[in-house]
C-alpha cells in the first residue's frame, strides 16, 4: 500500500499515513485531488479508481471516507477488507466508533493503524492481538492516570474527556451494541457526525458486501 487517507464528507482530512517517501507539497496535492475525485463519486459507483499510475480503493463509512492507494498488481478486494478490518478495530477499541472519536483521539487511531499495518503491509490481522498490543501500552497510561487521579482526589468523578475513560480499554467483554449513538459530553454534537461508522453499514445493507 502506498498511503491511506481518512477524510470527512466535507473534505476535511482526518488521518493520513504515507508509506512512500513524498514531499509535503506532493502529499498536499495528492490529498486535494483525491478528496475531490472521491467526493464527486456517487454512492452506487465502483469502489475502485484508477488514478495516475495507482489504484485507489475507497469506502465510505457514515460520514468518513477511507481511501487507500495500492499498486496495479495488488488485490483491490483485499484492500477493501483491510479498510473494513481497520474500522472494526476502531469500533472495538472505542466502542461503536464515530467520526468524533477519531477527531479527538486521532493519535490513538494512528497507534491502532500502526499495529495493524506496518510499512504498508498487513502486519497483524487478528482483532484480538492488535487490541492486546494497544491495550498493553494503554494499561500503562491507565495506571498512571489512575494513580494521578487518586492523588488528586478526584477519582470516580465523571471523566469529561473522551480519550481516557475506562470504557475505551474494556477488555472486549461488553462492547456496547453496534449502532448505539454515543452521548458526547460537549455541545459540539451538532457539528459532527456521531453516527457509528459500522452502524452506517447496517442501516444500508446494500453496501455491506
Amino acid at each position: 500500500m502506498q498511503f491511506m487517507l481518512l477524510f470527512s464528507r466535507q473534505g476535511k482530512l482526518r488521518l493520513q499515513k504515507w508509506y512512500v517517501p513524498l514531499s509535503d507539497k506532493e502529499k498536499k496535492k495528492i490529498t486535494r485531488e483525491l478528496v475531490q475525485t472521491v467526493l464527486a463519486r456517487k454512492p452506487k459507483m465502483c469502489s475502485f479508481l484508477e488514478w495516475r499510475d495507482l489504484k485507489i480503493v475507497y469506502k465510505r463509512y457514515a460520514s468518513l471516507y477511507f481511501c487507500c492507494a495500492i499498486e496495479d498488481q495488488d488485490n483491490e478486494l483485499i484492500t477493501l477488507e483491510i479498510i473494513h478490518r481497520y474500522v472494526e478495530l476502531l469500533d472495538k477499541y472505542f466502542g461503536s466508533v464515530c467520526e468524533l472519536d477519531i477527531i479527538f483521539n486521532f493519535e490513538k487511531a494512528y497507534f491502532i493503524l500502526d499495529e495493524f499495518l506496518l510499512g504498508g503491509e498487513a502486519q497483524e490481522t487478528s482483532k484480538k492481538n492488535v487490541l492486546k498490543a494497544i491495550e498493553q501500552a494503554d494499561l500503562l497510561q491507565e495506571n498512571i492516570d489512575f494513580q494521578m487521579r487518586l492523588f488528586a482526589g478526584n477519582f470516580g468523578g465523571k471523566p469529561n474527556n473522551p480519550c481516557c475513560s475506562i470504557r475505551s480499554v474494556a477488555l472486549d467483554v461488553n462492547s456496547p451494541p453496534q449502532g448505539q449513538q454515543k452521548q458526547h459530553p460537549s455541545n459540539i454534537n451538532t457539528d459532527f457526525e456521531v453516527t457509528g461508522l459500522l452502524f452506517s453499514l447496517i442501516s444500508q445493507p446494500s453496501c455491506l458486501k
Binding site: P21, Q123, N143, N161
Partner: protein, 1128 residues
C-alpha cells in the same frame, strides 16, 4: 509483562513530581486540543481558520521552546502540532522537539514522539539521523513496548545509510521469544530489503528461518520478503515451491488457529500472498506449475461463501491459474469464475471481472466472446471507471476488423473524460491502434504505386519516435506484432515496398518482443527470399534485416544455408549482402559494432573523403599506380584519346581501370556512390552492380595476386556501406513526414445502434481463425488453444505417468537441493520426454514415489496434528533435507581428464552434474584463466550411437568453434563458454537448452545453472596494482561509495595486516599500502572495473569505505569480504 510494570513503577515517582499540579495537566491539555477543534468548527471562513491556527502555532512554538515545559506537556503539544499539520499548516519548528520527545520521554510520551516523527519526517529528512541513537537505545531496552515502538518506526522510515548501525540489533530480534517482536523485526528487514537490498544479502538464511517460524504471523511477515525476492529472481526460489504449496494447503484446510480467521475465512491475507508467490514461481514453468494445480483447485473449491473476502481469494486464484503453465481443467473452472464476476450485480465484482477478462483475453479470446453483451452494457455504464476498464479490454482484442469501432469508442470516451492522466494514456493507445493499422492499409493498397518517400517517412517516424520512450516502445512493439502476423499469413500478396518496410522494422525492432526468437523471425524473412516475385531490391532489404537479427547457433546455420543458395546469384548486391550476412553471423562482435541496436537514429558518420584508404592509396601510388582521375576528366581524356590516338578502344579500358585507384578525395563518383548507398535504396541495386568495392566483386575481378592481399581497406569500406541503407528513412523525406504524423479522426457522431450490432462489430474476428488478422495480439490465441487441447488429449495412461514422474522427480530434486541453495549451484529439470523414455521414467516414478511416501510418513509421525507446529514441522523437513548424493552421478575425476589440454594446467572447480536424460549427461565446472573465467560443459553420451547435440546458453559467449557437434557414443565432448558479468549482482543465473537428435527424434532439455557471486567474484576479481598516488586520484574520481564495519581478525600479530592478508588471499585483492591503523586496498573485475577500499581500525572493528564507478560493486565486494572473514 513484569518488566513493563517494573518500568512503570520506576517512572511513576518522577512523573508525579514533575507535574506540580497533578491531574490538571492532563485534563486541561486535552481540552486544549478540544478547544482548538471546537474553535475551528465554529469559524465560517477559511481566512479566520488560518488566523486561528497561526495563533495556535505560535503559542505552541513558544511553549515548546521554553525550558520549563515538561515532557508530559510536550506530548500534548506534539498532538496539537500534528493536528495543525494535518490541516495543512506547517509546523516544522516542532520536528526537532518530536525527536527529543522520542528520545527523552517515558514510554507513553515516547510513543507520541515516535508517532510525530513518523508523521512529520520522511525517509530523506536530515533530522532523521538524530533519531538513530534513540532507536538503538530502545532496541536494546528490556521493555517490550519500547522495542516494539522502535521496530515500528524503523519499518516505517529509516535513513538508508544508517541501516548498518542497527541491522545487527534487528537481526538479533529474529530470535526473540515474543512473536510480536519477531514479526516486527521481519517486517523491518523487509523494509530494509526494499530500500537497500544489498545490505541484507547476508541474512537470506535467516529469512528462511523466519519462514519456518512456529508462529504463523511471523511466517506471514516473511512472505512479504519472499514475494519481493521471487519477483526479482523466480529461478532462485523454485525449491521453495513445495513448502509454499504445503503451507497454502494447510491454511486452506483450516489448520491455523481461529485468531487468523477473518469473517470465518482462514487467513485470507496469507492465502493471497501465497497465491501471488505461486503464480510467480509457476510462470512459464511446467513442472513447478504441476505442483500447485491441486492446491489451486482446492482454493477455488473452498472459496464459496458469498463475501468480499472469498471473492478476493477467488480473483487471486484465477489470476494465478492464468499465469502459470495452463491446465485445461483449471482454466475451465477459472473461466467460470470470471463469468460469475462479470455477471455479478455488485459493481466492484463486475469491475474485477472485466479486469480479469482483460488479463485473460490474450490467451482465450472466446471468453470475451461469451460475455459480449455484458461488455457492451459496461461500455455504456454510468461509472467512468467501468467504462475505462471496458475500453482497456477492447484494446486488447483489437484486430483488423473491429479497429474502427473500438477507436471510435475510445474517442467518444476521450470527449467525456477530464482527467489528464487517462487522456494521455488513451490518446497513446488510439494513436497506436490507428496509426500502424492505417499505415498497413495504406501500404497494402497503395503498394508500389506510391511515392518512395512515404515508406521512408513512416520509418523515420517510427525510429525517431515521439516524446515518451514507453510510447515509442509500444508503438514499435505493435508494429512488430502486426508484421510478424502478416508474414505468417500470406506475404506473397503484399507489395514490394511494404515488404521492405516490414523487413526493416523487424530487423530493427523485433528484439523488443519478448519470447520472439530471432530464429523464428529469420525463418519468416527467409521465406520471402524464396518467393518468385520478390524483387532483388526487396531481397537485399530482407538480407540486411537478417544480418541484424543473426544471433545464436540456429541463425548461423541458417545463414550458411542461405549463403550457399544465394551465393551464386547473378545480382552482385545480393551476393554481397549474403556474404555480409554470413560473416556477421559468425562474428557477433563485429556485428554489434557494425549494426548496433537502436542506433537507427544516431547520426552516422560517413567518411565521404574515404580517408581511411589513404595508406592504401599512397602505397599503391608508390608502387607505381597512376593517380586517380575523376570521370569527367577521364571522359575528356578518352575523347582526346579518341581524337588523337589511332589505337583501338579496347586498350584504353585497362588503363582507366588501373587509374581508378581512388586518389582524389573529392571524387564525385565516390561521393555519389556513397550517397547513393545511404540515400535512396531504389538506386541501390543499379549502382551497386557497377561499384567495385564489393567483397566478392574484389575477389572475382582482381584475381589471385593483385590486390587480394590488401583485403583490409576493402572490408572497412564495406563497414561503412552496410548501415547506410538503414538510415535512409531517417535522412529522407523530412518535409513529407507530417502528413502521416497526426491521426485525424473523423468525428462522425455514431448513430444509435442496436447493441447486438455493436457486439458483432466489436467481436468480429475473435472466434474464427479464418480471418486474416493484421494484429499480432489475437494471433497468440490459437497457439494457446493447441496447448490446451494437447493437455486434454494426453490423458492416456502413459503420459499421465510422465507428468507424475515430472512431479515426483522435481520434488525430490527440490528436496535434495533445498537447503543447499546457498552453497550448491545447480538445479536441473527434464522438460520433455518421449514415449521411448517412458518405461525408464515410470521406473523412476516407483523409486521416487517411495522416497516421497517415506518422507510424508515421517512428517505425519513427528506431528501430532496440531496446526501451528504442523507448518513448522513440514517446513523444517523441506528446509533440512538429508545430505544425499546420487551414486550414479559422473565422477569428478573421470570427467576432469576430458578437460582440454590448454586448460588442464589451470585450477578448475568441482565438476557438478547439470542435468541428464536417458543417454546424455551434462556436467559443468568453471576454470579460471588469467584473462577470463571459462565455463566448461561436458556432454557425456552413454548410449551406443552417436548423438548430435546442440547446446545453447544465454548470457555467455561461446569459445569453442562450433556449438553443434556430434557426441560419439560412449564418449564425452566438451564445450567452453567464457563468462562475462555485465553488472556485479548478488547472483547470476545461467539458463539454456540442449537439444539433441536421437533416433530421428528431436528432444530437448532445459539446462539451468545457478551461480552465486561468491563463486563469480572469487573468479572474476583480480588484483588492481596501483601506487598510492594513483589510488588517491582514482579515489576522488569514483562516485559510488559504501561504508560499513567489518569484524577484525585477532590472530596475534597486527590485526589489520592479518585481516587484509586474509582478504588478499581469498578475494585476490591488492594491498596498496598500510600506514599505521589504516590500509588501502584495490581490486578490479575481469572486465577492468575497479573498486577501491579504505580500511581503518576503529574501536576493535575494521571501518571500511569502498568506492567504485560501478553502482553495485562496493556492496558486492563488501558482502564477499564479510563472508571471507566469517569463513576464516
Amino acid at each position: 509483562m513484569s518488566d513493563v510494570v517494573e518500568k512503570t513503577l520506576t517512572a511513576l515517582p518522577s512523573l508525579l513530581s514533575l507535574d506540580s499540579q497533578p491531574g490538571s495537566g492532563k485534563l486541561s491539555s486535552t481540552s486544549k486540543l478540544g478547544n482548538l477543534i471546537r474553535g475551528i468548527t465554529e469559524l465560517t471562513s477559511k481566512h479566520e481558520e488560518e488566523k486561528l491556527i497561526q495563533r495556535e502555532l505560535s503559542s505552541i512554538k513558544e511553549q515548546v521552546a521554553s525550558p520549563n515545559t515538561s515532557m508530559r506537556q510536550m506530548k500534548e503539544l506534539m498532538v496539537r502540532a500534528i493536528y495543525c499539520e494535518m490541516l495543512g499548516y506547517e509546523a516544522s519548528f516542532s520536528y526537532i522537539h518530536a525527536i527529543k520527545l522520542a528520545q527523552q520521554g517515558t514510554v507513553l510520551e515516547k510513543r507520541v514522539g515516535y508517532l510525530a516523527v513518523s508523521l512529520f519526517l520522511n525517509e530523506s529528512h536530515e533530522l532523521l539521523l538524530l533519531l538513530v541513537n534513540t532507536v538503538l537505545k530502545d532496541l536494546q531496552s528490556t521493555n517490550l513496548i519500547e522495542v516494539c515502538m522502535a521496530l515500528t518506526v524503523v519499518s516505517q522510515m529509516f535513513p538508508k545509510d544508517m541501516i548498518p548501525a542497527i541491522l545487527p540489533l534487528v537481526e538479533e530480534k529474529l530470535t526473540h521469544p515474543k512473536e510480536i517482536i519477531r514479526r516486527k523485526a521481519v517486517l523491518a528487514l523487509y523494509k530494509f530489503y526494499l530500500i537497500a537490498p544489498n545490505q541484507v544479502q547476508h541474512i537470506h538464511n535467516k529469512f528462511r528461518k523466519a519462514l519456518c517460524d512456529k508462529d504463523p504471523g511471523v511466517m506471514t511477515a516473511s512472505l512479504h520478503i519472499y514475494l519481493q525476492m521471487i519477483k526479482e529472481n523466480p529461478e532462485g526460489y523454485k525449491d521453495l515451491t513445495a513448502s509454499f504449496v504445503t503451507i497454502l494447503k494447510q491454511v486452506v484446510g483450516g489448520k491455523l488457529p481461529m485468531d487468523f480467521n477473518y469473517h470465518s475465512v482462514p487467513a485470507p491475507w496469507l492465502q493471497i500472498q501465497l497465491l501471488r508467490i505461486l503464480s510467480l514461481l509457476g510462470k512459464d514453468d511446467q513442472s513447478t506449475s504441476e505442483m500447485m494445480y491441486e492446491v489451486l483447485d482446492e482454493s477455488l473449491r473452498r472459496a464459496e461463501m458469498n463475501h468480499n473476502i472469498t471473492y478476493a481469494i477467488l480473483y487471486e486464484c484465477v489470476k494465478s491459474i492464468y499465469t502459470i503453465h495452463p491446465k485445461a481443467e483449471l482454466l475451465e473452472k477459472a473461466a467460470k469464475c470470471i463469468g460469475n464476476f462479470v455477471l455479478s450485480p455488485k459493481i466492484n465484482l463486475k469491475y474485477l471481472g472485466l479486469k480479469a477478462l482483460t488479463y485473460v483475453v490474450q490467451q482465450d479470446a472466446n471468453l470475451a466472446l461469451q460475455h459480449q453483451l455484458t461488455i457492451i452494457e459496461c461500455l455504456d455504464h454510468s461509472d467512468l471507471v467501468i467504462k475505462r476498464e471496458t475500453l482497456e479490454l477492447l484494446f486488447r482484442i483489437t484486430n483488423a476488423q473491429n479497429v474502427t469501432v473500438i477507436v471510435e469508442k475510445m474517442l467518444e470516451f476521450l470527449r467525456l473524460s477530464k482527467d489528464d492522466y487517462t487522456t494521455i494514456d488513451l490518446v497513446g493507445k488510439v494513436a497506436e491502434l490507428w496509426f500502424i493499422e492505417t499505415m498497413n492499409t495504406v501500404f497494402s493498397l497503395g503498394g508500389d504505386m506510391m511515392q518512395p518517400d512515404i515508406p521512408n517517412s513512416f520509418l523515420r517516424l517510427l525510429s525517431e519516435g515521439f516524446d515518451s520512450t514507453e510510447e515509442d516502445r509500444q508503438l514499435r512493439l505493435f508494429a512488430v506484432d502486426s508484421y510478424v502476423s502478416l508474414l505468417q499469413g500470406e506475404p506473397g500478396r503484399l507489395p514490394q515496398r511494404f515488404l521492405q518496410v516490414i523487413s526493416w522494422v523487424l530487423g530493427e525492432y523485433s528484439h523488443l518482443r519478448e519470447g520472439l526468437e530471432p530464429a523464428t523471425t529469420l525463418r519468416l524473412l527467409a521465406k520471402l527470399l524464396d518467393m518468385k516475385h520478390t524483387s532483388s531490391e526487396t531481397k537485399s532489404w530482407v538480407l540486411l534485416a537478417m544480418s541484424k537479427l543473426c544471433e545464436g547457433p540456429d541463425c548461423v546455420s541458417l545463414a550458411q544455408e542461405l549463403s550457399e543458395r544465394h551465393g551464386g546469384s547473378l545480382d552482385t548486391v545480393l551476393r554481397q549482402r549474403v556474404q555480409e550476412l554470413r560473416h556477421l553471423s559468425e562474428d557477433a562482435e563485429l556485428r554489434a559494432s557494425v549494426l548496433p541496436r537502436d542506433a537507427a537514429q544516431e547520426p552516422l558518420e560517413v567518411d565521404s573523403s574515404l580517408s581511411f584508404l589513404d595508406g592504401f592509396v599512397s602505397e599503391a601510388l608508390s608502387a607505381g599506380a597512376a593517380p586517380y582521375k575523376p570521370p569527367h576528366q577521364r571522359q575528356e581524356e578518352l575523347a582526346q584519346a579518341k581524337a588523337l590516338s589511332l589505337e583501338p578502344y579496347g586498350l584504353s579500358l585497362p588503363i582507366s581501370m588501373s587509374s581508378c585507384s581512388l586518389a582524389d578525395r573529392q571524387s564525385p563518383t565516390l561521393l555519389s556512390m556513397s550517397s547513393g548507398l545511404s540515400g535512396n535504396s531504389t538506386d541501390l541495386s543499379h549502382k551497386g552492380g557497377s561499384t567495385t568495392l564489393k567483397l566478392d566483386g574484389v575477389k572475382r575481378v582482381w584475381g589471385k595476386d593483385g590486390y587480394l592481399a590488401q583485403k583490409e581497406p576493402v572490408e572497412e569500406s564495406a563497414q561503412v556501406e552496410v548501415p547506410s541503407p538503414l538510415c535512409s528513412p531517417s535522412r529522407q523525406g523530412g518535409a513529407d513526414s507530417t502528413h502521416s504524423q497526426t491521426p485525424t479522426p473523423t468525428p462522425t457522431p455514431e448513430p444509435e445502434k442496436e447493441k447486438q450490432q455493436l457486439a458483432s462489430s466489436l467481436f468480429v474476428g475473435l472466434g474464427s481463425q479464418s480471418s486474416v488478422c493484421l494484429m499480432g495480439k489475437s494471433e497468440q490465441t490459437p497457439q494457446r488453444f493447441r496447448r490446451k487441447a494437447k493437455g486434454q488429449g494426453s490423458s492416456s495412461g502413459a503420459s499421465e505417468q510422465i507428468s507424475n514422474s515430472h512431479y515426483s522427480t522435481q520434488s525430490t530434486v527440490d528436496n535434495l537441493l533445498c537447503n543447499n541453495l546457498l552453497d550448491s549451484t545447480v538445479t536441473s529439470d527434464l522438460a520433455v520426454s518421449t514415449p521411448e523414455q517412458t518405461p525408464q521414467l515410470s521406473q523412476e516414478v516407483a523409486t521416487t514415489n517411495g522416497t516421497c511416501d517415506a518422507e510424508q510418513d515421517l512428517i505425519e509421525e513427528t506431528d501430532p496434528g496440531n496446526s501451528p507446529s504442523l507448518i513448522r514441522a513440514n517446513s523444517t523437513v523441506t528446509a533440512d533435507p538429508p545430505a544425499h548424493k546420487d551414486p550414479d552421478r559422473p565422477k569428478d575425476s573421470c570427467l576432469s581428464s576430458h578437460l582440454p589440454a590448454e586448460l588442464a594446467g589451470l585450477s578448475h572447480s568441482e565438476i557438478i552434474p547439470l542435468c541428464s536424460s536417458q543417454n546424455l549427461d551434462l556436467s559443468a565446472c568453471h576454470v579460471q584463466k588469467e584473462d577470463a573465467l571459462l565455463l566448461v560443459i561436458f556432454i557425456e553420451n552413454s548410449s551406443d550411437s552417436d548423438i548430435e547435440c546442440l547446446l545453447f546458453l544465454s548470457q555467455v559467449s561461446c569459445v569453442t568453434d562450433s556449438p553443434v557437434e556430434a557426441v560419439r557414443s560412449l564418449s564425452v565432448s566438451v564445450y567452453q563458454y567464457s563468462l562475462m558479468v555485465k553488472r556485479p549482482a548478488a547472483h547470476v543465473a545461467l539458463a539454456g537448452t540442449a537439444s539433441y537428435h536421437m533416433a530421428l527424434l528431436t528432444q530437448s532439455m532445459l539446462v539451468s545453472c545457478f551461480c552465486l557471486t561468491s563463486l563469480l567474484f572469487l573468479c572474476l576479481g583480480r588484483p588492481l596494482c596501483v601506487s598510492t598516488e594513483e589510488y588517491g586520484t582514482l579515489w576522488l574520481a569514483f562516485s559510488q561509495d559504501t561504508k560499513q564495519n567489518l569484524a577484525l581478525l585477532n590472530d596475534g600479530q597486527d590485526p589489520l595486516t592479518a585481516t587484509l592478508d586474509v582478504l588478499k588471499n581469498k578475494l585476490q585483492l591488492h594491498v596498496v599500502d598500510i600506514i599505521g591503523a589504516e590500509g588501502i586496498v584495490a581490486c578490479r573485475l575481469l572486465q577492468g572495473q575497479p573498486c577501491l577500499m579504505h580500511c581503518r581500525v576503529h574501536a576493535g572493528s575494521l571501518a571500511v569505505w569502498l568506492r567504485s564507478p560501478v553502482p553495485d560493486l562496493p556492496d558486492c565486494l563488501l558482502y564477499h569480504c564479510q563472508r571471507a572473514l566469517q569463513e576464516h
